[in-house]
Amino acid sequence: MNSYVLLLITIIGYSLSIIFEKKTLKIIEPDEAIVIKGILYLIFWGLTLLIIKMFNKPIIESKYKNYKKGILYFIIAYILIFAVGNLFFYYVLKRTNEITKVSFTLLVFNTINILGLSYFLRGERINLISIIGLVIALTGVVITLKN
């Protein structure tokens, strides 16, 4: 599938889920939501496993000889995302009502971190026109959040 189609599906999936999470967090506390989320993830994985087995598809194809290394990367990644990122995020949300400032600060830090990490860890380079696009996109975000 085309990368941009996948990107669009990702954006739609995450955005819609944020809307339903917002509805959920009006009823229960964030830490309760995290607990339920973990349980639901395991249930959904069970469902996925069932579908994979039905189609007789392996989870890890035989071409992946060094898959343990990949698994180790995933474990560190998801601990960082869930145990560090999400918990700190909920901690911040509990102590401030300035959601606009939080969103904007996070987007600025995201941009800095994305560019820094991709440069130093992956050796990625972006061209001047993309930098201009990035600045325009951030300007749009500032205008949206400030108003």
Binding site: S3, G13, I34, E61, V102, L115, T144
Partner: protein, 154 residues
Amino acid sequence: MELYLVLFLFIVSFSWNLGSFLIKEGLYFTSPLSSLFMKSLVFFIVSMCLLLILIVKGRKFNENKTKKALRYFVIAVGLTFFIGTLSFVYLLKDVEKVSMTLFIKSVCTLFLVSILSYLFFGERLNSKQVLGILIGLTGVSIIIFNTNLHKKIN
């Protein structure tokens, strides 16, 4: 906002983004489905640890509220799991320019949530906010038309 909260937000952003880069590295060695499996497992273990802490602290869970919340939360987590995460790991497997992919994803999600909040919650968007979204999308379009997501350098 207090300075320590800003510092915490930096940690949040750093963890999330470093996490995404590590997933990309992992995908050189194994399949996207195994990533989804590890995500489910890690999330489950962490959430069980949190549940243990909440029980030790003496937190009581309101059964009725939880049932009511589940109506929305099953959809939310289902959307994240089957649409968001699944397409995201396949996307990460596919692209080499992770920086621009993550940037477009985070900016567009912010804009789409603003639009969806208007549709679902009736949160009004004024003309300046609509202008901001249009400017932002123009910036994203410039990036898309000038970036090859399959090359690290271009």
